[in-house]
């Protein structure tokens, strides 16, 4: 299983993704690869193609708190930018370039503040991170997210 987390730690709660990746790496779950980055990149498609289950993690500026969890399908998004490469496009490239056939999920952890040049999470976002980490670790340990309602939203 692969966890791809992105965000900019210098923009307050935009750092939720890398913070989750760091916490997840400390858990050292067997069979789980964790990668943190600034954004989802084209070459992530190559890495995705080597994993049957992929979870994309990012801060969410909108949506439910503490997080939302949903299936994501391969896509050809016309709003594509390399800066904002969506999980669906990464999966689309993995499928079309490398024959990937697996399941993709997205975990959007609700952020509150995206202020530039602030290098810490808000208290609210830290609480969301804790809940998201517990949820994700449970799924990763069990080896599957199938059968869970999607989107799964905890309050």
């Amino acid at each position: 299983m692969l966890v791809l987390a992105v965000g900019n730690p210098a923009r307050a709660d935009d750092g939720l993704g890398p913070a989750l990746a760091e916490a997840l790496e400390r858990l050292a779950l067997p069979g789980v690869t964790v990668q943190a980055g600034y954004q989802f990149d084209a070459e992530d498609a190559w890495l995705v193609a080597r994993h049957p289950i992929v979870v994309f993690v990012d801060a969410a500026a909108e949506g439910p708190a503490p997080f939302a969890f949903a299936r994501v399908e391969p896509a050809a998004d016309t709003s594509f930018t390399t800066h904002g490469l969506t999980p669906g496009i990464v999966l689309g490239l993995a499928r079309d370039c490398f024959g990937w056939q697996g399941e993709g999920w997205i975990l959007g952890i609700r952020g509150v503040s995206f202020e530039p040049f602030v290098e810490r999470l808000t208290g609210e976002a830290s609480a969301h991170l804790e809940a998201a980490l517990a949820f994700l670790a449970e799924g990763l340990r069990s080896g599957t997210f199938m059968g869970w309602p999607a989107p799964r939203e905890l309050t």
Binding site: G37, E43, E62, G63, A75, T81, T82, L93, D96, C97
Partner: protein, 478 residues
């Protein structure tokens, strides 16, 4: 303003970061004025103030997720000056160069395969549903191209990982040198694939060159205009992306400035502030703001250098320059051709550096006598990047001045957009094809419009038509 309509495109798709184009029309639908507005990530220079100088090469990578290595190296070079070092050890310089060529390779490959190739392969008027990289990957004619794009990008990132320690926010370059040499395992792994990278670079360049020459009648004038060009070059005139002296040439190839040391950049370059843009407009002091603006980036670098010191890229440079009879090429869409010549050059340089024994040396850092100031200039993938710092006696940064490549290209991008609007929108209806042509002109410069937050839900394309009073009269989104 009465009687004028404003068309806004925001943000610009497939450009790094966020931007907005407004085309101001009059009642007759004729183009009155065109402007590229860039929402810049302001305040970084102030953010650095008070920080210990040795933190800066790592810290500045947070400026941008697109070319953090360029900021890392420009800051490290400036801090070399602060610690009193003018020349690194061979291992130090070659590891930094390897990192830089890895960055150039992956950035240019990403730009061409994933941002530009959909426009070239499917045409500017193609359905947006297929005119994207996934459309390229799904088309059996081009599927191999998309795979190569991903793998070349991946290779460049692996070079960065091996030299900087991380793909993003690396720590490889430190004031006075580097903190590690290349490991034997990384050397062997990268060498195994480098010949494929060179071959794919040459083949991709051939594709782009063929496209440009086949469509020259249309492309020669597309967003084009005569201009000055600026870059660093090696003191003997060779292309050098990592280090050198400033040189600028005019549209005919006449030398405007040459052999200017990075420390003296303020003697030749000034920046103008205009009330409608957050971004400054740099110009050559000797010519003034009206005629002293210039282009930077691959096109400029091919126009300023006398030769390239790797054989495949040099042969391609000569063919490129023949397009304008040996004078500077001022075709905006030739940026792509020039960019791919640089990909070949970067791949050749990576091969040579991997084979150099110094790359695994043990002499990593040089120490000198502390100085209060340092300037570092590199040729980032998008163009010349300046970092200038003043450091106080407590080792804290007191002043920082950064001029990024997209800022140098501010005036040219505005002119390119205006040219396209005049040629394709003036008196004609607003269509998807017209809007995409404006974006194509901007994309030629591969601008990095500074990173805003990318949290889920923030990326979309919205087109708004506003009347003279600022009321939205039309709006579409992708």
């Amino acid at each position: 303003m009465s009687g004028l309509n404003r068309i806004a495109i925001e943000p610009v798709t497939r450009v790094e970061g966020h931007g907005k184009v407004t085309v101001l029309l009059d009642d007759a639908g004729r183009v009155h004025q065109t402007r590229l507005h860039i929402v810049e990530f302001r305040g970084f220079e102030r953010f650095i103030q008070g920080r210990p100088f040795w933190e800066v090469p790592v810290l500045v990578q947070r400026l941008c997720g697109i070319c953090p290595v360029s900021h890392h190296l420009a800051a490290a070079k400036a801090m070399d000056g602060v610690v009193g070092v003018d020349r690194l050890t061979p291992t130090g310089e070659k590891m930094r160069r390897l990192m830089h060529y890895g960055q150039t390779l992956q950035s240019h490959a990403l730009h061409f395969f994933h941002l530009v190739s959909p426009d070239l392969l499917f045409g500017f008027d193609a359905d947006p549903a297929i005119r994207n990289v996934v459309g390229v990957a799904r088309d059996p004619r081009f599927a191999e191209l998309a795979v190569r794009g991903v793998l070349m990008r991946k290779y460049g990132q692996e070079v960065i990982l091996a030299t900087a320690g991380k793909k993003i926010h690396g720590t490889g370059a430190i004031p006075g040198g580097i903190n590690k040499a290349l490991s034997a395992a990384d050397q062997a792994r990268l060498q195994a694939d480098v010949d494929a990278m060179i071959q794919w670079s040459v083949e991709t360049l051939a594709l782009c060159k063929r496209y440009t020459l086949d469509h020259l009648a249309e492309l020669a004038d597309f967003g084009s205009f005569p201009s000055n060009h600026l870059s660093i070059v090696r003191p003997d005139g060779a292309m050098d992306l990592y280090d050198g002296v400033l040189r600028a040439v005019d549209a005919e190839g006449g030398i405007l400035i040459d052999q200017v040391r990075p420390d003296d950049y303020l003697q030749v370059i000034r920046e103008e502030v205009r009330p409608w843009s957050y971004m400054k407009f740099p110009f050559l002091r000797s010519l003034g703001p009206e005629t002293g603006w210039y282009r930077v980036g691959p096109l400029a670098r091919l126009n300023t250098c006398d030769f390239i010191d790797t054989p495949l890229a040099e042969a391609e440079r000569q063919e490129f320059k023949a397009l304008a009879g040996g004078k500077p090429v001022n075709v905006t869409m030739a940026y792509h051709w020039a960019r791919l010549i640089e990909v070949v050059h970067a791949a050749e340089k990576i091969r040579d550096l991997l084979a150099d024994p110094d790359i695994r040396g043990t002499d990593l850092v040089v120490l000198g006598t502390r100085r209060p100031e340092g300037v570092g200039i590199v040729e980032a993938p998008r163009g010349t990047l300046f970092h200038h710092y003043r450091v106080n006696e407590r080792d804290q940064v007191e002043m920082a001045n950064l001029i990024v490549s997209t800022t140098h290209n501010n005036e040219p991008m505005n002119r390119a957009v205006h040219k396209v609007a005049m040629d394709h929108l003036d008196g004609k209806p607003l269509t998807e094809g017209v809007l995409n042509r404006i974006e194509v002109a901007i994309r030629a410069y591969d601008p990095c419009l500074s990173c805003a937050t990318h949290a889920i839900g923030h990326m979309s394309l919205v087109v708004e038509v506003l009347d003279a009073a600022g009321r939205v009269v039309d709006r579409i989104g992708r």
